[in-house]
């Protein structure tokens, strides 16, 4: 376990995230150009899809159906559990609860990648179709949480948030369209399809870019993530002790659930670990804009701080190894 933690802590990924946080703490002017950030996230999502597609071309529908089912199940369960905890125990407003829940119902691609790297490095690689599961998990969670929010707000008409004179112009099909055609979905799914279509033969010539550069560019991306997280540390106190606990305990609950469902679906230890990490992770690429647009009353400080400054580093440093240990016990 300790050794496993070491592997994780001493990876360039974790450390360059830490460097980014540090840079903000010492009030450095270090910043990645915005276009570089956009370019890197486009690259990472597309590469993820392509590689996943090539690997998918080796696996049969039979193998996937089970894991796919439990993944969608996680996409429904996790936002609900997150919402209830935040609303009932945390006493957050409907909008805030639904907004945060949307992030924890979806999945963080970077955390997913870190988990993939981890299981490979400890010699328990995950199934080839994991990126496919990633695309399955990305959207439902957001939709479910936003639906809960909209429904609740409509319900308690006495609440100050009742007069929805701005939400009508945001019908659900519009939100769904935005999510389905969002950059991350298009690049992931598009990459998957292309990967399946071209197979190993077509993959070879582009492999140097989409596989060879992957970890290095991810390291640079994590520097930027660290900068973004670092600039949110100041908001931790605003977020409060409850959200801090939530950002650490909720992932463990969701992770355990994910590992268990994964083992039910007969996945390998590596696969369970990655699925657990997906369930435990909080999205900060697809979810934030969707929530901002649809639940503007939800306070971004809460969901961004929780997802980016609490849960992401927790998963990166301690979460993934924990989910690995849990998976080991569940998939004997």
């Amino acid at each position: 376990m300790l050794d496993v933690l070491r592997i994780n802590l001493c990876s360039p990924l974790t450390l360059s995230f830490a460097l980014g946080v540090f840079a903000r703490l010492v009030r450095s002017e270090l910043a990645l150009p915005r276009d570089l950030y956009t370019g890197l996230s486009i690259y990472l999502l597309f590469a993820l899809g392509l590689k996943g597609g090539v690997e998918l071309s080796h696996s049969s529908l039979a193998e996937i159906s089970g894991p796919a089912f439990v993944t969608v199940l996680l996409g429904v369960l996790t936002p609900v559990s997150a919402y209830l905890v935040l609303r009932r125990l945390g006493k957050f407003s409907v909008s805030d609860s639904a907004g945060i829940a949307a992030h924890y119902g979806s999945v963080s691609a970077v955390t997913f990648i870190a988990a993939q790297q981890f299981v490979t490095s400890v010699g328990a690689p995950a199934e080839g179709f994991m990126p496919t599961l990633l695309t399955l998990l990305e959207i439902p969670g957001i939709q479910v949480a936003l639906a809960i929010g909209a429904f609740q707000l409509a319900a308690d008409s006495k609440s100050s948030e009742a007069d929805e004179n701005a939400v009508p112009p945001r019908p659900f099909k519009e939100i769904l369209h935005e999510l389905l055609t969002s950059r991350s979905m298009l690049l992931l799914v598009g990459g998957l399809v292309i990967g399946v279509a071209v197979g190993e033969a077509g993959w070879k010539p582009v492999q140097p870019v989409f596989e060879g550069l992957f970890k290095g560019l991810l390291t640079i991306f994590l520097l930027e993530m660290g900068l973004a997280a670092g600039s949110r540390l100041g908001d931790l106190k605003k977020a409060g002790i409850f959200l801090l606990a939530f950002g650490i305990l909720m992932p463990i609950v969701h992770g355990t659930l994910g590992a268990w469902l994964g083992s039910m679906a007969g996945m390998s230890i590596g696969g369970c670990t990655v699925l657990a990490t997906m369930a435990a992770s909080a999205s900060y690429i697809a979810a934030p804009p969707a929530v901002r647009m649809t639940l503007p009353e939800a306070n971004p400080t809460y969901y961004l701080t929780a997802a980016l400054a609490i849960t992401f580093p927790f998963n990166l440093v301690a979460g993934i190894p924990i989910y690995f240990e849990i998976s080991k016990r569940l998939c004997h």
Binding site: Y37, N165, A166, L227, S231, P288, P289, T301, L304, L308
Partner: protein, 100 residues
């Protein structure tokens, strides 16, 4: 050169609203607009960087009526909930007919 007095509406808003604002500007009857990227700070915290994007700065030259109409839409839809401001100034253009 003969110039016409028109109204320049400048809107500064968080960038995720960009496409919606463009639609509102067209709906209000503007014949054109110009957009630039911007950072900023206001009653809400400093808007920079990656995750939620920063701001956009949208300018449109319109008639007084269209300006009024646009301000109406903006304050109804955005002012309370989103990081959005708007201001008016007087400008003189040639080819006034181009803008109304």
């Amino acid at each position: 050169m003969k110039t016409v007095q028109l109204c320049l509406v400048t809107v500064i808003a968080e960038s995720i609203l960009k496409e919606r604002l463009i639609q509102d500007v067209r709906d209000a009857g503007a014949r054109g607009f110009t957009i630039t990227d911007a950072d900023g700070e206001g009653s809400r915290q400093r808007r920079v960087g990656a995750i939620l994007g920063a701001n956009v700065r949208l300018e449109t030259i319109v008639s007084k009526e269209v300006a009024e109409h646009l301000l109406g839409i903006l304050s109804a839809e955005y002012f309370e909930r989103f990081a959005v401001i708007a201001y008016l100034s007087d400008v003189s253009v040639i080819r006034g007919e181009k803008y109304v």
